[in-house]
Structures are given as structure tokens and as C-alpha cells.
Symmetry: C2
Subunit: 291 residues, 2 copies
Amino acid sequence: MIAGAVEAGGTKFVCGIGNEQGEIIDRVSFPTERPEITLPRVIEYFRDKKVEAIGIGTFGPIDLNPSSPHYGHVTTTPKEGWGHYPFLPTLRKEFDVPFGWDTDVNAAALGEAVWGAAQGLDSCLYYTVGTGIGVGVYMEGRLVHGLVHPEGGHVLTRRHPEDRFEGVCPYHGDCLEGMAAGPALEKRWGVEGTELPEDHPAWEIEAFYLAQSIANAVLTLSPKKIILGGGVMHQSQLFPLIRREVARNLNGYVNAPELSGGLDSFIVPPGLGDNAGLAGSLALGLRAAGR
Amino acid sequence: MIAGAVEAGGTKFVCGIGNEQGEIIDRVSFPTERPEITLPRVIEYFRDKKVEAIGIGTFGPIDLNPSSPHYGHVTTTPKEGWGHYPFLPTLRKEFDVPFGWDTDVNAAALGEAVWGAAQGLDSCLYYTVGTGIGVGVYMEGRLVHGLVHPEGGHVLTRRHPEDRFEGVCPYHGDCLEGMAAGPALEKRWGVEGTELPEDHPAWEIEAFYLAQSIANAVLTLSPKKIILGGGVMHQSQLFPLIRREVARNLNGYVNAPELSGGLDSFIVPPGLGDNAGLAGSLALGLRAAGR
């Protein structure tokens, strides 16, 4: 079976097709413009691809409630034209196939559980740390939606004792995203994160915030794997710092072999690398088709 | 159908029988002693009750993995005699019926979702705030276990600006339980919480910590209802303080009608009152029997 995948991001769209082994067979990418420009390009791409299902993992916030009149819309985004535009309904009109529809991070969590770092496990959390911070939640074999959907990038954490930065989140100031996403790194240090050397104190502070939110998520949810993706996590020196801080925060309280030792196989990069988002969308499509 | 329920607490056991409407028909209670004394009393109680299933909601930490050799044990408790005692296996030997087995707080969350404040919803969080703090997690129609089970009472929160108390958690010092459970109240103020007047500053500080952990849980999980039970929550003046602080922390970020206004119907006491634990164990038993 060949399914389609749409990774809908705030700056670019990636469309592709893939199979039940999670292999991406073809892909294209184009900038995110107004939906009246971007969605026709998505439709054009899939027109001759004979896909039997399509999965969409998208930026949000989105409406995930199938009985809502706004199901399949991005809701309150400042992104021009997308707020309450009928994103999913527009594609449904063109293709008579099952559609999967979820947040980009939930899609990535599912992809990692099916083919990636959490393969064979019935739970994982997928963090993306980039221009924003998002957390996909897969628990007991299901993607978590709840009232709206998880927004774990905005949790409050304690302040690093040496950090005086006020934070950049327009809603919460110094929440996790306000303190640890790419724009926070850049504003705090005056240069982009990629320009900071590996041993810069920025990374200790970055790890401090991420680790605290991860430790709290481990206590709240008891996930079987924590997967950290996104541009900032390309700084691979962060992984040992984060693992050390998570262990310090938990302080041996939760008794599980996976949480003892160095957490090396518990807190990991995406098994699907930078494909996690597109493969996750593929997995959403296949799941919608009952595969 | 009549099912049995065991609410196994650190200080007392409650056993009862009930029906599919969640009505408790009979109950007994006795102190928690060593398992060799307490479990025979449980067995004796159910001997002539003709129950078709038994549900157990218990203090922990516990082993919830059915393929583990320690499934059905309390694991690392300091409670004398209970650590790795074959709790569930001992009862299974006596009664050839389906058994439900989960944490006390997960049981209470399930009971509230079936018959209580979250009736008809597929997600809720159940907090108990008493001698400790525990959080039951019910998401997408399933009780969350994951790696071990949630331990949301031990999350880290920011410190109240006027609070100099060091905290009483032996693992984390000033985690949520260390700052806001009954023993923390008593140590901070020198008297039991029940002796503090309704307008004592203790309650603002108590609400501050609980609200922060609730706001973080709302962001992380997006539950459809937050239920607050346990002895400390008998101080009903806490509810408006907590709702106000949760709203302040979220600051309008999550867009849902349930989260606007005063959160009066979002953050609520148990619909089952102090029956939440026993009725929840009953629900576990009924669910184990496929009801």
C-alpha cells in the first residue's frame, strides 16, 4: 500500500509518498504561503500518485474533534490566512481516501513508535526544539488529544540560578519555550545557537530547562522513551547534559531499569532523523486506513 | 453483576461490594498491618460475597506489567512486609474471578470517569492531596501506566516568592509533595492544616503550588477534567484559589471553552466524594470482567 504524507510546517510544507515499511519513496518541499496558494500545490502533487490514504501532521493549534464543525482546521494561528481555513476539508474534496490528521509532534511521536527510536513500545514523548518547542504524546498505544491537544512546550520551569534572561514567550514570558527555543537562545546570547561553541555555558542552561520539563513529564506520564528532535537538538552535546540533569531531578525516585545508569537508551535522538515528521505523517495516513 | 472492591491504603484497607451502577452495597474497613495479617481479612470478607470480579486500587509503587514476575506486587515500599509481597497472587489463589489491579489514584480517576465528575469523558486527572500527593491519569479512555506508572505528586514547581520552607520530600526536598502535602503544611505552620483558619496565608501558598502543577499537566496532557480529592482538599476555600492561579499560569494560551471563565466546571471536587477510591476499585473490577 502506498500512502501520502503532508508535513505542514509554519515555514515550509513537505509532501511525500511512502509504504508500510516507512520508506519515503518520493518527496517535494515548498514554502508555506497563504492556504489558497499552498493547498493547490499539495493537491497537484498527489493528483497522479494513486495514494490509498493521506496523513497530515501540521503546525497548530488545530481542531482534532471529529464532531466539531471546525474539525480539520488550524484554529487561532497568527499565520496569515490559515486561521480557521478548511485545511483538511479542502483536501478531502479532492481525494476520496481515509485521512489522518494530527499535530506535527503527535505525528512524529507515532512515526517513532512505528518505525523509529520507540519501535515496538506503546508509549513515547517526542519533543521538537526549534523555533518553538512542541511535545507529541503517545501513551498506551494512542496519540493523546484530550480537550484540545498537548502543548507541552509552554510548561513552567524553575529558573537556572545564573540566568537573568526574561524569556520571549508572548503568553508566559519565561515558560520552557520562552527560555529554551531557538529564538530564546539567540536573544539571550546575541548570536544564533549554531554559532555558539560546544563548550559555551549556553548549553548547560539549555539542558537545565529541557531536563526539568522532561523529568516532570516522566513523573506525570511515565513514558517508555523520550525522543528529542528539532534544529536545536542537532547540538548533540546537549544529550549527555540533559540526561545528567534528568537523573539529578528524579534522584532515583522512580524505580525502573530504563531510568538507572546513564539514561543513554531512554533519552535519545529520533530514530528516523529529520524524516520523523514526514514519516510520522505517513504513519497517520496508514493508521487512518486501518494499517 | 456484583463485584468486589479493595481500596488498599497505607494506613487502612477498605473492602466493599457494589453493582454496575457504582452503588456500594456493603463495606468494611480495618487498619493496614503486615500483609500476613491484612490479606487474610480481605479474603475472609469476600469469602461468602459471591463476587464475579474484584478490583484493587492500592498504595504503591506497584508492578503493573502483566508479563513481569512481580506483577501484582507493591514493589519498593518502606511499609513493613509489603515490599514485593505477592499481594494480588495471594488473592487470586482464593478467588477464581477476573481481577483489576492499579494504583489507588488511577482507580479513583476511572471511578470518576465512569460514575463521577468526569462521567462520559474519555480523560481526566485525579489528584489526591493528603499525607502524600498522587495523580491518576486517564487519557483517551485508558488508564496510563507507561514504564511504571505516573508519580505526578513529585513534579518540581517554582517556589512561592514568600515561602522559605525547605520541603519535606526525602527524595526531592521541595517537589510538589514536599511543599504541599499534609505533612508539609503541618511542618511549615506548626499545626495541622485543619487547625488553620480559612483566611490563613497557608492556603494561598498551598494553591500556588497545586495550581502550578495543574497548569503544567493541562499543557502536557490536555485533560478534559481535573478532579481534586484527598484530606487537604476538604478545605474547600482552596478551589477558587487554585482555579484563579491555574488561569493566571495558562494566561489564555490554550483556547477551549472549558478553560475560559472561572474554570468552575473544569477543576472540581470528586463527584463520588470520599467514595471515589472504593468506587474506583469497583470500576477496575467491573472493567476486568469486561463490563
